[in-house]
């Protein structure tokens, strides 16, 4: 009906409507173009880069689905990987069936994951969403352990800890696409991730989605404006489980293997980490957290065996000093973005970054030396730190590390004044000038 209205015969009005449509979806279009170009950007155009991007896409869907629970509805789950993993198993089994001759193109595999996630979300959600808060968190933990144990026992279905494999290249090849190359898989993943993100964003704009926020804020009052908070929690739980299942299906397609760890507590913990590091309260934060953590997981492990330690420290630092997460830190700058003093703020950050880096270097040296001595005492006292060969039996590496740490920390503390002053200036300016009527630069 609205179709016939917009398709008016006057060409001018039509192009106007098109422009408006483009205008409204500017952010989405921009994101789409970036995502299409990314795997061809130098540095990311190899197999490693494309695989990293694919993993980020999968993590983003998983983290967004988790954001529906935690950020939007206030449900802290310790077992969200259950739906991811079961979706993954559905995906891998469908892939095996396709390998055996079922005529379904591989890009549809994630839908099996979504359907499975939804089915189990309805099953377990009916039990777990009766209560919120600590009870919900504990039950989700229990369900997670239960499903993990089941996956280890049901070897025939799950392949246990070894997992089961399939071949994404073996099946129908529409338009000559084999889905073997990482680039093709990347585009499949981007397609489903973008769909999922758009659908989740749309869900939050519906009456049920708006009531998720209301139930998060005050479930008691929600009941006094006509809504059953249990029902709202159940609905959002099913939606979140469905998209987690979709992410699991993407995971199956990307790795061609799913093992019991896919439903495990480790993966449930990682998505929680992503949510907090990116910022629980915003949709954008979930994506930011997913991208950051995936990148850290992949790149840090190349540099150090103690990478999980750093991830943990990073997590603690964010929770303590930036409760709004990385997205909170970024969004904090929005009010002062256009001010002239904004440059001062950036400059003060740059200055404060130097001692911060020095302190971090000192801390890393101490950590690495101790980690090495604790985990590999038989490899001797010589080790590589950054680009240097050091002898940890001498006093110098220790002294220089402590000096860096202490000196850096001391200077960083002095720099905080600088940052605070610049901020003061910028926010004063933002307040007095305000909005659009900023004076032109002299």
């Amino acid at each position: 009906m609205s179709e016939s209205k917009t398709a008016s015969p006057v060409p001018e009005r039509r192009s106007g409507a098109l422009l408006q449509w483009l205008e409204r979806r500017k952010a989405w279009l921009f994101a789409a173009i970036v995502l299409i170009i990314l795997p061809h950007v130098p540095g990311l155009d190899g197999n490693f880069g494309r695989s990293l991007l694919s993993q980020m896409g999968i993590a983003a869907v998983f983290a967004l689905s988790y954001n529906l629970l935690l950020g939007q509805t206030g449900l802290l789950s310790f077992g969200h990987a259950v739906y991811f993993g079961l979706g993954g198993y559905a995906g891998i089994h469908l892939m095996r069936a396709i390998n055996a001759g079922l005529p379904i193109p591989m890009p549809l595999v994630p839908l099996a994951g979504a359907a499975t996630g939804l089915a189990f979300g309805m099953l377990f959600g009916a039990l777990t969403t009766r209560r919120a808060g600590v009870v919900f968190a504990l039950i989700s933990l229990g369900v997670g352990e239960l499903v993990f144990a089941a996956m280890r026992i049901l070897q025939g279905f799950s392949g246990g800890e070894e997992g089961i494999t399939a071949n994404r290249g073996m099946g129908p090849h529409p338009f000559g696409l084999t889905f073997g190359p990482q680039l093709q898989v990347y585009y499949v993943i981007v397609f489903w991730s973008a769909m999922a993100a758009a659908l989740m964003a749309a869900f939050l704009r519906t009456p049920a989605g708006r009531m998720c926020n209301a139930v998060r804020d005050n479930p008691e009052r929600a009941a006094f404006i006509g809504y059953d908070p249990v029902r709202i929690r159940f609905v959002v739980f099913c939606v979140a489980a469905m998209f987690a299942g979709l992410a699991g299906g993407l995971h199956a397609l990307n790795y061609e293997i799913v093992a019991a760890e896919a439903v495990g507590a480790g993966r449930s913990g990682t998505v929680l980490l992503m949510a907090y590091i990116g910022g629980v309260h915003s949709f954008f934060g979930a994506v930011l957290g997913a991208v950051t953590i995936t990148w850290l997981q992949v790149s840090l492990s190349d540099y150090t065996t103690a990478w999980q330690l750093y991830l943990g420290l990073f997590f603690i630092a964010v929770v303590l000093f930036a409760p709004g997460g990385l997205s909170g830190l970024l969004l904090m700058h929005r009010p002062i973005l256009g001010t002239r003093a904004f440059l001062h703020v950036v400059k003060s950050y740059a200055i404060a970054a130097l001692p911060a880096l020095a302190a971090a270097a000192g801390a890393i040296m101490l950590l690495e030396i101790n980690y090495r001595r604790a985990t590999q005492p038989d490899t001797g006292a010589r080790m590589r730190l950054f680009w240097m060969d050091v002898d940890t039996s001498s006093v110098w590496p220790w002294l220089s590390a402590i000096a860096l740490l202490a000196g850096g920390a001391f200077l960083f503390n002095r720099c905080r004044r600088l940052v605070a002053n610049a901020w003061q200036q910028a926010s004063d300016e933002a307040r007095t000038v305000g909005g659009m009527q900023r004076e032109p630069r002299p």
Partner: protein, 258 residues
Amino acid sequence: MKDARASRGCVLQLRDLHKRFGATPIIRGVSLDIDQGERHAIIGPNGAGKSTLFNLVSGLFAPSAGSIRLDGEPIEGFSPFEIYRRGLARSFQVTNIFPRLSVFENIRCSVLWSLGYRYSFKRDVAKLSDANARTGEVLEQIGMSARRDVRAGVLTYAEQRALEIGITIAGNARVILLDEPTAGMSRAEAARAVSLIRTISVGRTLVMVEHDMGVVFDLADRISVLVYGEIIATDAPTRIRENPAVRAAYLGTGPGNL
């Protein structure tokens, strides 16, 4: 048993209502009929059980014994949302809003059910013109239009009280319970609230708990006096003022401003 008054316009009917917390009886046999379209005030000393009575009627607690009928249908022990859907909305003595939602969102969430959107996840709220129009209307009524994009949690106390009333009336319920709507307000704010309550109670049934006797005598058609979990009198304002039992109860607890 179908009560005769229901057909004559008794909207809310409490019969021998009891509520105990543990072994402590708080409501001790309350019977009360609220007529269609009346403005009924419930007064009584602190701790008499006024809020508890509202909590029973609105479904927050289930009564220990006794019956509650809304339009002649029993509702005791029902959930709050079931009672709301039958046309009864309430406000809270201690402000009970959605702190991280904007003022606008607070009200819009409160109009969704009454306009039939229920748990829909097919429609975009931005495009629900009736819901957005009704929200604007309520914001205008409670004088919060200029504050629509502010997070409810950072509003001033008086603004939160106004929002509390807005959330309650947004869904156009037929029966409205207000628990101390003007508590803590300045004289001017209270006067505004009274005129708002007068406006929204037209064509509706209103039950309110109120400590400010000026407000009570200004608004109420009838007054019930609740003392220690029992209603000692229900009558027109002028007659309540002269009721010796009420005078005794109130003189015992302090304010002689009846």
